[in-house]
């Protein structure tokens, strides 16, 4: 039996050593090589435009950007990728968007802004319906979760669980070393970049772009705004196919196979955040990004996705209650957006995003 246990142990160790080593070395989300963020931030602060280094821990990146701010921005935009590409028409504006941001991530960004004394006079919250789904309060970007908890503490008073959770979340990234999901991502990256390139340290060098045009690679502007890559702009046919597939396989981004009810706890937390910011003298705007026409039609016709319409109704009511202007709409019809206005089935083209922001429905 000893021989069996030893052999099993050796095999298990061998498998896990390979997993941990690859996860650490390839590190698809750059979690263990924060140097990449450290290299990016000074370049952006110096006004350079850089090429986005693919998989990036956006939470850490935004934290470093906020931490190193020379002066407090006048406007900060919070939300998901729905606000990340928009050419915001404000002087001294910082785009703090995080892909697929949940309510917890809104809290995290506010937490970081307060922590590093950068709370602006004006915050635009690009609210998405999934921000009010179950567990949305936990946030999606684990690396900045502690700021969400601190922020919650400030908004709602002490929470006895916060310290424990915060401690746990400090170790989250080490869990990823052992994660099969992270291993799959590492392997995928290794396949796409080639073994030798993905294992080389200089693979993590930052490339400075000389313009803000749409080119091969996605770019990041000094104010945190992203520029679409060429491959990010799809044809109408591709977008229609992708939207149809998402509807058919019932995987409509974060909404998955359905979203019917808004979580009361999340609504309360969101309202508390708005009230807190208003008390701090911050002017707030909501921005609703319109969904792709066929997808929005699907939401209107299917009870399973009625939460999307309820979210808009809720946000408009909340806007009235606290004197917050609601820009845009989830409805492509109301905002007049057509298939050709979309970069992909999920995002408007940058100029159309701005056009939508300027639409205020009454």
């Amino acid at each position: 039996m000893r021989k069996f246990i030893i052999k099993c142990g050796v095999f298990f160790l061998l498998v896990y050593t390979i997993i941990v080593l690859l996860n650490y070395r390839i590190d698809p989300a750059n979690m263990f090589h924060s140097s990449i963020v450290e290299k990016m931030v000074p370049l952006l602060n110096a006004g350079k435009i850089i090429e986005s280094p693919g998989n990036l821990d956006e939470g850490l990146f935004k934290r470093e950007m906020i931490k190193s701010m020379q002066r407090t921005p006048e406007t900060v935009v919070i939300g998901s990728s729905h606000i990340m590409y928009e050419p915001w028409p404000f002087e001294n504006c910082f785009v703090a968007g995080l892909s697929g941001a949940y309510l917890g991530d809104y809290y995290a960004v506010v937490g970081m802004l307060e922590e590093y004394k950068s709370l602006p006079q004006h915050i635009i919250i690009g609210t998405d319906p999934w921000a009010f789904m179950t567990n949305a309060e936990n946030g999606r970007h684990k690396s900045i979760n502690e700021y969400a908890l601190k922020s919650l503490e400030r908004v709602q008073g002490k929470n006895p669980d916060i310290r424990g959770n915060s401690q746990q979340d400090k170790f989250y990234k080490y869990k990823e070393l052992f994660s099969f999901a992270y291993f799959q991502a590492s392997f995928k990256k290794m396949r796409s970049d080639g073994i030798s390139k993905s294992l080389k340290e200089d693979n993590r060098e930052i490339i400075v772009a000389d313009n803000a045009e749409i080119e091969k690679k996605q770019k990041i502007m000094p104010n945190g705004r992203y520029i679409f890559s060429e491959s990010g702009l799809k044809s109408i046919q591709e977008n229609n196919n992708s939207a149809d597939t998402a509807i058919r396989i019932q995987q409509i981004y974060q909404l998955g196979s359905g979203f019917t009810d808004l979580q009361t706890d999340n609504l309360t937390q969101f309202e508390n955040l708005v009230v807190y910011l208003k008390k701090k003298g911050v002017k707030i705007d909501f921005y609703l990004h319109p969904w792709y026409p066929t997808v929005y039609k699907h939401f209107c016709e299917n009870e399973k996705y009625s939460g999307v319409l309820k979210t808009e109704e809720y946000l408009r009511d909340l806007g009235k209650k606290y004197d917050v202007v609601v820009h845009g709409s989830f409805s492509s019809e109301l905002t007049g957006m057509k298939e050709e206005d979309y970069a992909d089935w999920f995002h408007l083209k940058a100029d159309k995003m701005l056009e939508c922001y300027n639409i205020i429905l009454h």
């Binding site: 039996m1 069996f4 095999f11 999901a181 291993f183 058919r248």
Partner: protein
């Protein structure tokens, strides 16, 4: 607790170490406690059902031992059957029968509302009930001795590797193994791990990957046509095989780690050249159960040919019903029964078989299985008709046929082709040789390379949210 969960990955080594470290007289206790814990991790309340079934069968065994009168013995068996099957009926079939009775009454203009029960179907209830019944019936026929030790008997009924989805073990094979003192066997344990690895590969790298596509197709049947229909049908045929045989391999492998041999449940079923042969290769523990406890007692192939055909049809209808309380399952059983009857009728015409006719028969059986699995997977007979008509309607137009609307693409097909090719080769070769044994005998470098390849491939390909096993619902 699923085999493909972290909970099981922690649970099994603990049970393994405890089991082998303790003296033989305590081992049944480890197995019993771990089995009940395993089951309770799904739903603690329902462990009472297993306990009740176990107690009833144990009591029946003891009473049968002392009862000499044949009438009394029959009475004991009848009461036990009513009790065990009654529990199964209430939890699994009551609503189905109630609703169908109301429908039938409506046909003769009697209006009634069905009285239904809101009960959760206990996982594996059909499996452990059938294992219990086989014990009672074997004791009645004096084929096996009565087990006096309640703890050991309860371990036999609830043995966790095969508790929720089989194989349905026989008393004469499993009970003596629990009773018998054994020494740890390195060869047996390693062969168990090998089989588990193969089972996980089938479940996670094939069945779960295909499930994503199959579920999407069956969720939108009204829009599913052409290549999507065809792929959904073929993929489900592969999925259910990999899912269920994967579970069986993991169960058999787990039992081997504990020094217990369970029966083989699958033997390359899609290589069968007749439906009769298919049932000798698919879910063998269930098909032999029905053969021994239903088909043969009904008269089997004795008597007139019409009696024989009736016995086949009845056995297959009941087998279909065993899978679930839905007409689709009953009709699925009926389809297999009907083809088996047809095979019997035509058997004299095809007595001598050439290699070519075997290939043609094999392909025909595989196509038939695909069609029958549609009935099995569809949620209603209407859905079955819909998928067949959608497929049929799109056959004429190749441009339309090849257009996928559920996300089928070349990269998905390439991705799944490799593991399926490995599966086909494995199944084909294993008809002639024991692949696992061959691997065990091969050079250490080849062996470890094979182990690492299968483990890493499974880790890399498995969907991040693994689904439950299909046969858990039965």
């Amino acid at each position: 607790m699923l085999f493909n969960s972290w909970a099981f990955a922690i649970f099994l080594p603990i049970v393994f170490v405890l089991y082998w470290c303790l003296p033989h007289k305590y081992r049944w206790g480890v197995l019993l406690m771990s089995s009940y814990y395993f089951y309770m991790s799904w739903n603690p309340k329902y462990v009472l059902l297993i306990f009740l079934t176990t107690f009833a069968a144990y009591l029946a065994g003891r009473l049968l031992e002392h009862e000499k009168n044949e009438g009394g013995r029959k009475c004991i068996v009848a009461v036990t059957l009513v009790l065990c099957l009654g529990i199964l009926f209430i939890f699994k079939y009551y609503n189905f029968f109630s609703e169908n009775l109301v429908h039938m009454l409506q046909l003769v203009s009697i209006q009634m509302h069905p009285i239904t029960l809101n009960l959760l179907l206990p996982v594996g209830i059909s499996f452990y009930t059938f294992q219990t019944l086989s014990y009672v019936l074997d004791v009645y026929k004096r084929k096996v001795p009565v087990e006096h030790h309640f703890g050991i008997f309860a371990t036999f009924i609830s043995f966790f590797p095969q508790l929720v989805a089989g194989p349905i073990e026989r008393t004469e094979t499993l009970l003596p193994q629990i009773n018998k003192e054994k020494a740890f066997s390195y060869e047996q344990a390693t062969s168990g791990l090998r089989l588990m690895a193969w089972g996980f590969f089938k479940k996670l790298a094939i069945a779960d990957v295909l499930a994503i596509y199959v579920d999407a197709a069956y969720a939108s049947l009204d829009k599913c046509a052409g290549i999507d229909c065809l792929c959904a049908i073929v993929f489900f045929t592969i999925q259910i095989y990999c899912d269920f045989s994967g579970y069986s391999d993991i169960a058999i492998g787990t039992a081997r780690l504990l020094g217990i041999e369970l029966m083989t449940n699958f033997r390359s079923p899609y290589c069968a050249t007749s439906v009769k042969e298919f049932w000798g290769r698919w879910h063998i523990s269930l098909s032999t159960w029905f053969r021994d406890y239903l088909y043969i007692p009904l008269g089997g192939n004795r008597g007139s040919k019409w009696n024989h055909y009736f016995n086949i049809m009845l056995t297959f209808f009941v087998s279909g019903l065993w899978h679930g309380a839905n007409w689709t399952f009953i009709l699925w059983g009926g389809m297999h029964g009907a083809v088996l009857v047809l095979e019997n009728c035509l058997s004299k015409c095809f007595a001598a078989r050439s290699r070519f006719s075997n290939i043609v028969s094999g392909i025909s059986v595989f196509i038939f299985c695909n069609i029958a699995w549609i009935m099995f997977r569809a949620s209603s007979v209407n859905d079955f008709c819909l998928i067949i008509s959608n497929l049929w309607a799109s056959l004429g137009n190749w441009a339309e046929f090849k257009k996928s609307t559920i996300g089928l693409n070349a990269s998905f097909l390439r991705g799944i082709a490799w593991p399926v090719a490995v599966l086909v080769i494995y199944d084909y070769v294993s008809m002639k040789t024991d692949v696992q044994k061959w691997l065990a005998m091969s050079n250490i470098i080849i062996r470890w390379a094979a182990y690492l390849a299968i483990v890493f491939y499974t880790i890399l390909k498995m969907p991040l949210q693994s689904s439950s096993f299909i046969y858990f619902q039965f």
